[in-house]
Symmetry: C2
Subunit: 156 residues, 2 copies
Amino acid sequence: MNIGEASKASGVSAKMIRYYESVGLIPAAGRTTSGYRLYTMTDVQVLRFIRRARDLGFPVEKIEELLALWQDRSRQSADVKRIALEQIAGLETRIREMQAMMDTLRHLADACCGDHRPDCPILADLLEGPQQVDAHSEGGRSAANRSGPATILQTH
Amino acid sequence: MNIGEASKASGVSAKMIRYYESVGLIPAAGRTTSGYRLYTMTDVQVLRFIRRARDLGFPVEKIEELLALWQDRSRQSADVKRIALEQIAGLETRIREMQAMMDTLRHLADACCGDHRPDCPILADLLEGPQQVDAHSEGGRSAANRSGPATILQTH
DNA sequence: ATAGGGCTTCCCATCATGGGAAGGTCAAGG
DNA sequence: CCTTGACCTTCCCATGATGGGAAGCCCTAT
């Protein structure tokens, strides 16, 4: 099977298959005499494994561990579960951070009348920083590390 | 004010201040005869604006728009609100995607006994793909584009 | 004068992914 | 046999925001 067919069969782009090979996530594929990579159904299975793990947000580094465990017949399911739980925890953290941003933004957007006038509490907040506007509504400004050294997180 | 002081006063690292200048988010700072950048309190205010917007997850591109609106006295608050709502929508989407991943993972982790034995439903799922295990529990496998061309998203 | 800390620019790395160029290969049809 | 088009190869570049670090200049206090 050429790389294009393996790509279609696995849902992993040819570009990424080469990349995974280059970083050692998968072993170097066999080659034809003319240099074309060759794949077997087993290789495709591995690629599908990788794609599914990526779909669950696992970074390549973790997928390496997962693949190793998969190929280790004497693995302990506890090891797999630990990796999954770590991934869950990471996702949870990032979700919480984004949720905090969203809450703050909603708060601000709600306060902005959004008409032709220039006055805007959103800009005011960005300019002057978090004001204690409203004490009862869940602390007013819990969101997004609004005070302190701000671990800014990747949102793109 | 040197860049170090501006950095401390604004909470933006010197590295990032130079970067923001290089990409045109802020105008080139004044310089001493020896080439040191110089900042005023106004510059620091802009940097703080940027930092707060980053804390809310706005990409630099959007911050450019926000800064332009801020400096436009004839702005319409509707424009600011639109940008904020777009940001909220983007956050919402990413949160939903991650939530779907998390739900799937939790499902799998719950099914994994996590002991010394090698049998592991997590690995089984990654290998064989989404099985219709359980019809009643919210569709069993709604998560993470588990079928179809999978727009894989950045989670790091 | 010298030491130490701050500043400058420039390059590199991240993480996973795509785009594209330049060139070799293969299969089908004229 | 040769051309065409689809496929493959490698290599370089870009993304986005950030940090690390090197080499070298500047400033201030001892």
